[in-house]
């Protein structure tokens, strides 16, 4: 045992991390659990998942017409773009930065794709490619301003987001662009293969690649080290600036993919997507995800679970008679609750 050394000097060196993960807060909430570390750690990891399962059971029993399997299939189908958007929002959070422009990028990408096909008569593949390239470039622009010019990510991405909304508004005149010629893309999102909804074939590979990069490669480890202490990472020769930029490129790309998926789902490109109504849900999921599986750290599996957790919660409550307005209330409450819980968990991580 480290005994009193443990108690006394725990924040001497290294101290509280300087930059990264700062969105999870610095001040703690005191101790969560006085003892039982092993059990506590396990419970922490799985609490949200257990809650998710319990919720499914309760809604299945109480809400008439709420069939867990069928409902999950519909949910997975409808939530596919949100899962991708949440992973997009999570990428810069890992290195301690924020991207508020992901939803606007999604909206822009959708318009760009449809416009390429219908106005410029390009094939669907080219439309997708153009949408993704534009998204990645916007992400790279964000990343350059944040990582190389040292500008505040919050302000930069908020500004970019607003500019994109304006541009989309101007380009479309505010009207929905009908998505003629995106047929197979739309089909790839609807219905099931066996019992697996088709949407899963989109988000599962994205999530797997993101998980692999973050948890199983030196690249991911380097991102986490920047999130923990950017100064120390830089001194270890980790390319903090280009890696930070890369997270914005990833968030831009995945934001663009989200836009493509939303367009495919609805069959048309709606400029309202760029207004960023989905942004908060995506951020809420990233923060809520940081309270499960790897408590205190942003993680892909947690983020995916969080999207479905909130979706089932909203869906179940609406089955029980809740009104539409409950959805944003729940999203906002989840964001605040999630940030509170993950701050506590992060505090605990540091303690032990």
């Amino acid at each position: 045992m480290t005994g009193t050394a443990d108690q006394e000097d725990r924040v001497t060196a290294g101290g509280q991390p300087e930059t990264g993960q700062r969105w999870l807060g610095r001040r703690g909430f005191g101790r969560l659990r006085p003892g039982g570390r092993q059990w506590g750690g396990f419970a922490e990891r799985w609490a949200l998942f257990a809650l998710f399962v319990i919720m499914l059971i309760i809604f299945s029993v109480t809400a008439t017409g709420f069939d867990a399997t069928q409902n999950l299939q519909v949910l997975v189908g409808s939530q596919t773009p949100m899962v991708v958007l949440a992973i997009a929002a999570m990428a810069p959070l890992v290195v301690g930065q924020f991207d508020l422009s992901v939803a606007a990028i999604a909206g822009t990408a959708g318009i760009a794709m449809v416009s390429a096909i219908t106005r410029f008569h390009l094939p669907l593949g080219a439309g997708i490619l153009i949408a993704l390239v534009i998204s990645a470039l916007i992400g790279a622009f964000n990343g350059y301003l944040v990582a190389y010019l040292g500008l505040n990510a919050f302000i930069v991405t908020l500004g970019v987001s607003t500019v994109l909304q304006g541009v989309v508004q101007g380009y479309t005149g505010g009207s929905v662009l009908p998505g003629n010629g995106i047929g197979w893309l739309s089909n790839s999102l609807s219905g099931n293969v066996g019992i697996i909804p088709r949407g899963a074939f989109w988000f599962v590979p994205v999530a797997l690649v993101a998980w692999y990069l973050l948890e199983q490669t030196p690249f991911g480890r380097h991102l986490r080290s920047i999130g923990s202490n950017a100064g120390a990472a830089q001194l270890l020769g980790i390319r903090t600036r280009s890696l930070t930029l890369s997270t914005f490129v990833v968030s831009g790309l995945l934001g663009g993919l989200t836009g493509i998926l939303i367009t495919a789902q609805s069959g048309s490109a709606d400029p309202a997507v760029a207004a960023g109504g989905d942004l908060l849900s995506a951020l809420a999921a990233a923060f809520l995800g940081a309270s499960v599986f790897l408590p205190g750290l942003f993680n892909v599996a947690g983020t995916v679970l969080a999207i479905f957790f909130v979706a089932v919660l909203v869906d179940g409550l609406q089955f029980l008679g809740a009104q539409d307005w409950t959805s944003p209330v729940i999203d906002g409450a989840v964001l605040i609750g999630a940030i509170a819980v993950s701050s506590m968990l992060r505090r605990e991580r540091i303690r032990r």
């Binding site: 480290t2 005994g3 050394a5 101290g15 509280q16 390319r239």
Partner: protein
Amino acid sequence: MSAARGEALELAGVSKNYGPTRALRDVSFAVRSGRIHALLGGNGSGKSTLIKVLAGVVRAEPGGTVTRTVAGRQTETAIGDLTPTISRGLGFRFVHQDVPIFAELSIAENLALGSRFELAPGGRIRWRRQYARAKRVLDDFGLDVSPKEPASRLGPAARTLLSICRALQDQADPGAAVLVLDEPTSALPRTDVAWLLSSLRRLADQGQTILWVSHRLDEVCRAADDITVLRDGVHQGTMPLGDKTVADLAELIVGHPVQRVTASSARDDAPVLLAVSGLSAGAAQGVDLEVRQGEILGLAGITGSGRSSVLRAVYGQLPRQGTVIIDGTELDGGRIQTARAAGVRFLPEERRLIGFADMSVAVNASTPDAGRYWRGFLDRRAERKSGEDLIEQLGVRARSAEASLASLSGGNQQKVLIGAAIRSEPTVLLVDEPTQGVDVGARADIHGLIKDAVAKRGCAVVVSSDLEEMVDLCDRVLVLVAGRVVAELAGAEITELAMASQMEQDPAGTASATPAATPAARDADRKVVR
């Protein structure tokens, strides 16, 4: 010296448990009025806990008492009842290691933030009165600066004294408060320390009671009147310092005689692993040096002399002019990755830059070369194993390799990070302040680590403000003044006196011609410290 004016503070039966851990066990001792009373102990001895108890930040177990005597009047308080407010009411004033000075604000504002602003009706600040009051406080404490200047003009020692002023400015008379200093000198260069210690002495002579926590035993020997030693939460004794030496104190703290690791001597015919010529970077102005296989070179000098700039420039953290040759190959400057690829490793002075507090020991040890554990996936088992090996080899006190770095004591954190750097078998190991804020036991361990590493392979360059450390560790020492090498000492020539007399040469002539050498810091030093 201060006459025996009786006791200012008496503690009886102070205990504190953290769960099953007994941080303080029935500690009782008295502090005499108008004395500098050093509180000594290794990391984890209970010093910090005791101070937190006195500050009312940590609630002690019920049963003990704290008795304050001010002007013959005794106040006894149950120790378990202390809150920050009650502690302040009893006259305790605390100055911590990380001095909270607001550099952009004026000195007067910094003082006012510790007590109050002079307000006119309507809430306007009456600046003239504010400045006059600040001036009086500064004069009382012998700090000769204008209250209108921004605090950023002050050198590090003067900042510490400013925070002491701030803590004590509203006491009725010098005997009314007990000043508690938590490692005030650990971040200060040597010349500043002497100045700060003489300021403390002047305060004590005016009747100020000072409780002083320090790891720097040579300073304790120079400045303390009385000492109290804690070990594993148990009071080992309180006594006048008398003629005790650093070695005596170290023995009291550790509980057994401490082995000093003495310098090995590298062979003159060993290959040169690091050759630097005409190096100019930051405060360094044309530095030449060579380090041979198996050798530990020390760079001595005051803050701003360029000693740290040399390390940073070799590591590629600072842009530089001049050539750096590592093991026969010239190294391009300005990129940390290039230097690391050539086998250079660097441990900086800033504690906030030395690791990832919220990550595990194993991850901290592996992050510098995470690629080693990558086999298409990250081999966490191998990573954990190697973290465990590191803990075992270095004798790190950690619950496991999965424990977060922040849960370790400062000395153990330092061991992990030095161990991780050494494990990669660097050609050139650069260490800035290897044992700052580390207790005597861990200090000897860290010295041993560096020596063992160099004996096997590579060489090391060490910068330290602690001259005793330089004597213990280095085979050869270069003394830097104003960015230039002014003296070279080897073997038996390396003594604290020899280094101190060289590094405190008046750099005035060269300094005025070298604007690169942090003019603000030097300016402040000359103005305030000299």
